[in-house]
């Protein structure tokens, strides 16, 4: 009887164990043959296909074909862009501040009005008014474009189920392809100039709108849709009179996300240069190591992001229609203020209220780094030499007399493996097969280094994980996708990217998981962490680079920190959310069974939260890949660097190929984690 009952469990264990043993066997085999069969560890150049070249040539041909049309579009777009630019720069700052304050009042009452007022006042005082208006002008033109495209695509996908699959797949890819990779082909099409930033941001900002429109329409109650049908509405009447209005809240969320994406992309597109906008200002001052100024310009961006985010988020919150008179009053006050100060106010570019602050920041950062330079270097070098570097190139190469005080010898390798094997076997005998195999595989990774991992080992490992997570279909997909990277000659760079983002993800997983746990058990902790998380998610990617640069200069460690700062947020949020949403009846049942607080956490809340936590990890991985490319600006190696280089050389082939490789890595990681998450959900019967 008990044998039969146990079968499914042992069967499942066997699946994981079997896969793990295969991976381990391949790993050991690769290590043993490392010397005699060199192509096992390094894919020979002769076996690669010139994919980069082909893509470059093919795309170049297509792009050249449609270039005249696109140049015309570009020419057309210059009118609204110049118009918006002229308009925003000609409106006196005080009046614009009044308008935004009034708008804030209408959207969210006094708090929002105060946010708008103080935010824009800060921008004016910083002296970056004109640069900010250049940025805003781009957003102003790109957002309506993105909204229209997003709305159209969303409706189309909703109306035609056959289109929906295509749209969803495209949106998935667009979300994983790094932002910089968009820019290179656009450069070729539209030439250098702000229109590229405009179009890139419109393309980048349309998908969130489309997704939310589709989601909103799908979520309209079935009976509401049926009631529209039974009332005798034509299809068009149903859509425009009932379904779209009923989906308003979700569509407003889409507008918010669209705005934020557009702003983020406009700022990223500043690397192309040529528009004298605020992103360019950050880049410029960062390159000149004027961190105080970069910090100030970065703050201006943050202020914009916060004001735009909070105001557009207020759109999605239902509220009573507000009295318009205070808004009119606020506006009138600003006009009066403008008239009174007419002639006596300096030009917007000449404000410099915070010049002292910038200098002081420079000064104190300088003082701080001077005073604590040794300590900062110790942190940086410690992390690099004892953590990141061994992970990247393995103990056998990273352990040098210069850093570790001794050289790594083959005998040490042998000892290392012997200890790992003994530990693994010991754990295996206690019945925790998965842990044992993980230990053994980790030993291989640490000894060899992620960047030097033999490709058959990695392909087998990913394939096996996919098989355990979901099945053969996923295995096939993952292996084929990774093999594409292998034969296109981008493998080495991909491994460098994998190593850095992997290290950041692990750090985020541990740190974010602990913070999430802390926020789940302490209300007070969440009260502190929540606004921090909100803020980190609002800030455009670019800005994360400024503080890490200030303290740790250019290099991999700075990039590592920037990635963590950005990617840790979902891990914290999802962990906490998963832990605090345990159904009350489960908690009551556990309490009634006499569980202590810690037992409750480990035995009930954590298992229940696992699928949610895995989704958080999934988001963290995607965030890390997105930031990895931006971090290439401050010196990382790998695919991000290639994409960035391709942009500088307008090399479409390299840009797209490296972007695609990056997307593949993100996609594979995404599918693996999703597979495990849905397995967990199914196991919990959710």
């Amino acid at each position: 009887m008990s044998l039969v009952a146990d079968l499914p469990i042992t069967g499942r264990m066997k699946r994981g164990t079997l896969a793990g043993l295969v991976v381990l066997a391949v790993g050991v085999l690769c290590l043993l043959l490392e010397k005699s069969v060199p192509w096992l560890s390094v894919w020979p150049e002769a076996w690669t296909i010139p994919a980069t070249q082909w893509i470059g040539d093919g795309l170049g041909w297509v792009l050249n074909g449609i270039k005249p049309v696109m140049r015309f579009v570009s020419w057309l777009l210059e009118f609204p862009m110049n118009g918006a630019n002229w308009l925003l720069k000609s409106i006196p700052p005080l009046i614009l501040i009044g308008m935004v304050t009034a708008l804030g009042w209408i959207l969210g009452g006094w708090r929002m009005a105060a946010l708008g007022f103080l935010g824009l006042l800060f921008v004016l005082g910083s002296g970056y008014w004109l640069e900010s208006m250049s940025t805003l002008a781009l957003v102003f033109v790109s957002v309506p474009l993105a909204l229209t495209m997003g709305l159209g695509i969303g409706i189309l996908a909703y109306e035609y189920p056959s289109v929906k699959g295509v749209v969803n797949a495209t949106l998935d890819v667009m979300q994983t392809v790094p932002t910089f990779a968009y820019l290179t082909p656009l450069l070729l099409l539209f030439g250098f100039g702000p229109v590229v930033g405009l179009i890139a941001s419109a393309i980048y900002a349309a998908p969130p709108m489309a997704r939310n429109v589709l989601l909103g329409l799908e979520r309209v109650e079935a009976e509401v849709k049926e009631a529209a049908v039974m009332s005798g509405g034509t299809r068009r009447q149903q859509l425009f009179l009932i379904e779209l209005p009923a989906a308003t809240t979700q569509i407003m969320v889409g507008i918010n996300q669209c705005l934020m994406a557009a702003l983020s992309m406009v700022i990223i597109a500043a690397v192309i240069g040529g528009f004298n906008d605020i992103g360019w200002e950050v880049l410029l001052t960062m390159r000149k190591a004027q961190f105080g100024q970069a910090f100030l310009a970065g703050l201006v961006i943050v202020v914009f992001a916060v004001v735009i985010d909070r105001m557009s988020r207020a759109l999605a919150v239902e509220h009573k229609a507000r009295d318009w008179r205070p808004a009119a009053g606020l506006f009138a006050v600003s006009v009066v203020a403008w008239l009174v100060t007419l002639g006596s106010l300096p030009a917007p570019a000449e404000f410099n209220w915070f010049g002292g602050v910038a200098e002081r920041v420079d000064q104190s950062v300088g003082d701080f780094t001077a005073a604590n330079g040794a300590r900062l270097d110790a942190v940086k070098n410690g992390a690099m030499f004892y953590g990141l570097l061994p992970l990247r190139i393995g103990l056998d190469q990273a352990v040098l007399p210069f850093t570790w005080g001794f050289a790594w010898t083959p005998a040490m390798s042998l000892w290392f493996f012997a200890v790992a094997a003994a530990l693994s076997v010991a754990v295996f005998l206690t019945g925790r097969e998965a842990l044992a195999i993980t230990i053994a595989c980790l030993a291989i990774v640490i000894e060899t280094g992620v960047a030097n991992l033999p490709w058959p080992f990695l392909l087998t490992a990913v394939g096996a994980l996919a098989w355990v997570a979901s099945g053969w279909k996923l295995t096939r997909l993952c292996v084929i996708l990774l093999a594409l990277i292998l034969i296109s000659g981008l493998w080495e760079r991909a491994m460098l990217s994998l190593y850095l983002s992997g290290a950041a993800v692990v750090a985020c997983g541990v740190l974010g998981g602990l913070l999430g746990l802390w926020a789940a058990v302490s209300v007070w902790a969440w009260r502190v962490l929540e606004p921090v998380c909100d803020m980190l998610q609002t800030i455009p990617l670019f800005v994360f680079l400024i503080p890490v640069l200030m303290f740790f200069q250019i290099g991999e460690f700075s990039a590592f920190l920037a990635i963590i700062a950005y990617a840790i947020v979902p891990m914290i949020r999802y962990t906490r959310h998963g832990l605090v949403t345990t159904p009350p009846d489960l908690i009551e049942a556990a309490t009634a069974s006499g569980a202590t607080g810690w037992q409750m956490m480990r035995e009930v809340r954590l298992p229940y939260a696992m699928p949610t936590i895995l989704l958080g990890l999934n988001q963290t991985i995607l965030y890390a890949f997105a930031m990895l490319v931006i971090a290439a600006l401050i010196g990382t190696t790998g695919l991000g660097q290639s994409i960035f280089l391709a942009l500088g050389q307008a090399d479409v082939g390299l840009g797209i190929a490296a972007g695609a490789a990056m997307a593949i890595l993100a996609l594979v990681a995404d599918r693996l984690v999703q597979g495990f998450a849905s397995q967990q959900r199914a196991a919990l019967g959710l």
């Binding site: 009976e223 049926e226 009631a227 529209a228 049908v229 009332s231 005798g232 009179l241 009923a246």
Partner: protein, 344 residues
């Protein structure tokens, strides 16, 4: 009584390739049970199988069954909210399933009305705009349509709440809006899909009574879906009982209670207080000689429950009179006991 809505051999099968599979099996001429089991074996879901009903003009026809029995799918097939896989739906000589999209829209505007279990109110519209929506889609001007629906809003007892939004209403009020909206188009066939199931018992009874008085006034043909046997018995002229996609019995409330065709229907009728649905005519004995003269006034159309209240203390046989006051039978206390206890 002429028929207002007729369905013949109505099938609704879900799943990929349902139509082809059903057509193939029907051509083979097998019994519908066998067709259904073949379809199920192929992974398809036969939600409505070979359903034929005949609803008379002005009749209140109730379709009853447990959840998953196919009753909601049935009404959605008739209104073509879900496209049926096979069969006919005849309304005034016209097969709805052959009607074009435009014709269907036209019919929904003028002849069909529907009320939903969870109300299906448009969240962004006020009460009056919700109710007037069927008129709006016909292109009627705002003032005119508001004028026109005021009377209906009054009839369902929502006068004064015209400018409220659905979120500001209670469940009972929401369903009043749903009822008013379905009536705004002057419908001839009124379909109600478990309209009172989402309401609490007190409100449910109140709305049932109001519903009956509206029906008294309008005399429309009604298709009413419910899973509640008591509701079905209270409202229906006739009841169709569905199980696993099939109609297993059609009959008047009394027929359903007294002569269930199978165990399934009997189970339904089990908890029904039979005294309320059985009349003296069904339990009395024929006269055999002496006619008792004293005792309470009993008539053939009285329910057992009412009669019991009148003669609970009597140990003697009592006379039962027909509508004209003529004595036509006898009842004795043990007849009551037997009738009420027989299937209980």
């Amino acid at each position: 009584m002429t028929s207002a809505v007729t369905t013949r051999g109505l099938w609704q099968v879900f799943g990929a390739g349902a139509k082809a599979a059903l057509t193939r099996e029907l051509q083979r001429g097998a019994a519908s049970e066998d067709v259904a089991s073949v379809l199920r074996a192929e992974g398809l879901i036969p939600a409505v199988q070979d359903a034929s009903i005949d609803v008379g003009e002005g009749e209140l026809f109730v379709i009853m069954g447990l959840s998953g029995s196919g009753k909601s799918t049935m009404i959605r097939s008739i209104s073509r909210l879900a496209e049926p896989t096979a069969g006919e739906v005849i309304m005034q000589g016209e097969d709805l399933l052959k009607a074009s999209k435009a014709r269907m829209t036209e019919l929904r505007r003028t002849k069909l009305g529907m009320v939903f279990q969870h109300f299906g109110l448009f969240p962004h519209m006020t009460v009056i705009d919700n109710v007037a929506f069927p008129l709006k889609v016909r292109g009627m001007g705002r003032k005119e349509r508001h004028e026109k629906v005021r009377e209906i809003i009054e009839m369902v007892g929502l006068a004064g709440r015209e400018d409220a939004y659905p979120r500001q209403l209670s469940g009972g009020q929401k369903q009043r809006v749903g009822i008013a909206r379905s009536l705004a188009g002057d419908c001839e066939v009124w379909m109600l899909d478990e309209p009172f199931s989402a309401l609490d018992p007190l409100i449910r009874r109140q709305l049932q009574d109001e519903f009956l008085s509206i029906q008294e006034k309008l005399k429309t043909t009604i298709l009413f879906i419910t899973h509640d046997i008591a509701e079905a018995l209270k409202l229906a002229d006739r009841i169709a009982i569905m199980r696993d996609g099939r109609i297993v019995q059609i009959g008047t409330p009394t027929e359903i209670v007294l002569n269930p065709v199978d165990e399934y229907v009997r189970e339904f009728a089990r908890d029904v207080p039979k005294g309320r649905h059985m009349t003296l005519a069904e339990v009395m004995e024929p006269l055999n000689g002496a006619v008792p003269t004293d005792g309470p006034e009993l008539s053939t159309s009285m329910s057992l429950e009412d009669a019991l209240a009148d003669c609970a203390l009597s140990m003697q046989p009592m006379a039962v009179k027909d509508g004209d006051g003529k004595v036509v039978g006898l009842v004795r206390p043990e007849l009551f006991a037997r009738a009420l206890g027989a299937q209980g």
